[in-house]
Every structure is written in C-alpha cells, then in structure tokens.
C-alpha cells in the first residue's frame, strides 16, 4: 500500500474583502479536497509576510488590493525564488494585458468574480492534486495491496480474511513476540527490507496455512504462544513475501536471508520504521480467528 500523506495542504487566501475570503474558504471546505489548512491575508504585503511562516502550497489571490496588489505579490514571490508556490487569481480583472503578465509569472488559473463554485473547485482540485502528488511519501515496501492479498489467499486458501491498511502503525502496535524477517537482494551486501509479523499474525497465518479450525488458533492468540506448526507456516509466508517486495529497476531478485522470532523489539528496528524509507503496514482480520498485524519496511 502506498503510504498516504495525510498532512493538510496549506491554502493562503488573499483578498481585501473578508466576504470573498469567507466564500472561497466555505466552497473549499465543503468539497472533498482532503485536509486543508487556511490562512487569510488582506493584501499582498501581508501575504508575502505570511509566506515564510505559513509556507502555503496554494495561494488564491485577488488582483486589486491596497498596498501590494496580486500581480506584484506574484512577481515578488518569483523574484525571491519561491517558484514552487502555486498562485491562482480570483479577480474582477479581465484585461488581457494584465492577465498575460500573471500567466507569464506562473499563475495557474484566473477566475473572474463572481465565480461559480464548480469553476473554483475544478481549478483548486487540479492544483492541490499536483501538490499531493509532490508530497507523497516514499514508495511502499510491497508491490501492492493486491499482491499481498493474493499471497495471503494462497496461504489461507478457502478461509475468508480481510486485509486492512494500517498506515502509520508503530512498532508498539505489533504484539510481541515478532517474527522478524530480513531480506536481501541478489548481489547486494546490505539488507533490502524487513518483514514483521506480530504474534497474532503468526497464529493467524500459521493456523490458516495449516488449515486449523478456529479454537486452536484462538487459544494460541490468547496465550501469545504459536505452535511450532504455526511458526513454520508463518515463516513460509515471510519467505514467499520476498517475491512481492518492491524493487528498483536493476535490482536483482530478493530472497529471505534470515527469520527469527524475537521476544523484544530493539531500538534499531524502531528507528528504521520511523525513518520510513518505504513501508507497507496492514492489519489482518480473520472471522473466528482474530486480528493480527504485519509491517514491511524498506531499508
């Protein structure tokens, strides 16, 4: 699963009319644009001051304002090297000679007042989509959720299960002990990735792999002690997972180097998870068995 970036995108609304500020904010808040954070400025001068503290992803600005107008603000942003900040205009200005100046300074849209909500939304959606794309986290550790789903299905066969993305889960969310796998790519000296099954996932995948009835699996979950047969199946699962780990072009096949049941988490593992060079985190729920967690971490 791709790690979703849930940080709010920052939108700076610049207009000398509080009423227009309110309309723009209301329209954007009512739409499904993901988490947004707003800041308001009454003119270009105030907006330029806010840029360094607020670091907006998108500026929606009026054109005619006291002190510093919209075009001057845009030109100043570019002059000070802030080319990455997207700026769009909502304005009464229609003169082509002015609007072409805005476009040549990188304005991404110009909408005339009064505007239709859908016109503003269309432009803002496009602008924010490209911001979100740029802000996406690193590539996930696994090829895809579908690939993991297929792998679990081959392990569980007819036993129904549900795979639930768990982005941002911490090491402490995984119940001890952990079945910890280290993967290496052909020709590489350093490890490629880690795979972690918590004890519940070991019981569930192990019990499913052995096609056990629910009672012994629930008993193992309750005691926190998987049977040797369960651990054998869990290890087999982690070995197979090597085939669905994400690889860069040119990287050789990845295989399991070692797998161990560890009773305590160690600091290095925690810091590797927090560094997040690429992660895939899931919960696995099986009716009658219970729920476990797993994580794959790129190194």
């Amino acid at each position: 699963m791709q790690t979703a970036n849930l940080a709010p995108l920052r939108v700076l609304i610049v207009d000398d009319s509080r009423a227009i500020q309110a309309i723009i904010q209301r329209v954007l808040q009512a739409a499904s644009l993901g988490p947004l954070q707003f800041e308001l400025a009454m003119d270009g001068e105030q907006a330029l001051r806010l840029v360094t503290s607020f670091e907006p992803d998108l500026v929606i600005s009026d054109w005619h304002m006291p002190k510093v107008g919209g075009l001057e603000m845009l030109q100043t942003l570019r002059q000070i090297g802030r080319h990455e900040i997207k700026v769009g205009f909502v304005t009464t200005e229609t003169a082509e000679r002015h609007l072409s100046q805005a476009r040549s300074n990188g304005a991404i849209f110009v909408i005339n007042k009064p505007f239709k909500d859908e016109d503003l939304l269309r432009e803002v959606q496009a602008a924010l989509a490209s911001c979100r794309e740029a802000l996406k986290g690193p590539a996930p550790a696994l090829e895809s959720a579908e690939a993991l789903n297929r792998l679990i299905k081959s392990q569980m066969r007819e036993i129904p299960f549900r795979l639930i993305p768990a982005p941002g889960q911490g090491l402490d969310d995984l119940k001890l002990p952990h079945d910890l796998a280290m993967y290496v790519a052909d020709g590489q000296k350093t490890p490629h990735a880690l795979g972690i099954l918590d004890v519940n996932a070991c019981c569930i995948l192990g019990g499913g792999g052995a096609q056990l009835q629910p009672p012994p699996v629930r008993a193992a979950l309750q005691s926190g002690v998987p049977t040797p047969e369960m651990m054998k199946q869990a290890d087999l699962f982690l070995r197979s997972a090597a085939g669905i780990l994400m690889r860069e072009p040119g990287t050789g096949p990845v295989s399991l180097k070692v797998v161990n049941l560890v009773a305590k988490p160690f600091d290095k593992l925690r810091s590797l998870m927090e560094r997040d060079a690429g992660r895939s985190d899931y919960r696995l729920s099986v009716p009658g068995y219970g729920e476990g967690r797993m994580a794959f971490v790129r190194l």
Partner: protein, 164 residues
Amino acid sequence: MQEGVVLSNLARAWSGLTGQSCAFAPSSDPPAPRADDACFMLPITDCVTGFSSHPRAIVLLLLGAAESQALAAAMFGLPPEQLSAADLQDAGAELCNILSASLMECLDDSSLANLGLPQPLELSRWPDLSHRGERRALFELSDQPRRLVVMLTDIHLDDSFCRE
C-alpha cells in the same frame, strides 16, 4: 456598449453573490438616498496616469438596507442578526467592485482603464457626485421594492474631481 450584455452581467453578479434572481433595467435619474441606504464609490483610472487621485470615471453604488443585509448574509454565510456593520460595508464594497467590472463596458474605450479600489461613500456626497460629470450608465434593480442603483460617470474632462 451592448446594454443587454451589461444588464445581464449585472444580474448575474447579484444573483451569483446572493442566490437571488433579479433583473436590472436602465433608469433616468439617480434617486435621492434614504437614511439607511449604503453608498459606495470606485474610481476608474487610465493606466496612462495610473493615479487613483486622478480618475477618469467613477462608479457609484447605492444599496438599500435590506439588500445590504441579504448580500452580506449570503456572502458571509451568516444569519442577518450576526452581521456587523463592518460586514455589511465589506460586502457592499465588494459588490461595488464586481459591478464596476461589468460597467467598464460602458466606457468609450476601456482598453487603458484600470479599476481602483471600492470605498464607502458618505450619503451626503451622493446627491452631488451622482449629478456630476457625463453619466454613461445608470441601472437599477427593476423588481421593486428592492433597492440597488449603480451608475458610471465619465469625469475625464471634469477638472473639479482632480482638485478634490
């Protein structure tokens, strides 16, 4: 000037901001203001001079109390009782700004014209300003009892504005 286009743009502006459908019609004389009306002015300058103190035309807006409230309530998304006087003034000034953009069409040549910033106008100045210069357009909401009058006056050759 295509009067039909201007009238349609004015109506679109009002309905876009308030959600109320309406129609504008030409008028012959500016009305006298009432005590609870709100007035606004917006200068239009030539980019040759570029000084807001040296306008070539002005837009004047007169807004009835009920219309002021309806406008601000719609723009701020608040019930009328929660609106402040500053809210009414802010919304009215923005309406003046938006209507002015439509009225620019009424100038003989708007290619060098720049919109200035809208500002509240004291009621006492309305009678004088609304009768000075060369009136290019005067429109009002045609569905009574709504009260909204907007006008454009060309003051290019009227030196008295420049001396103020």
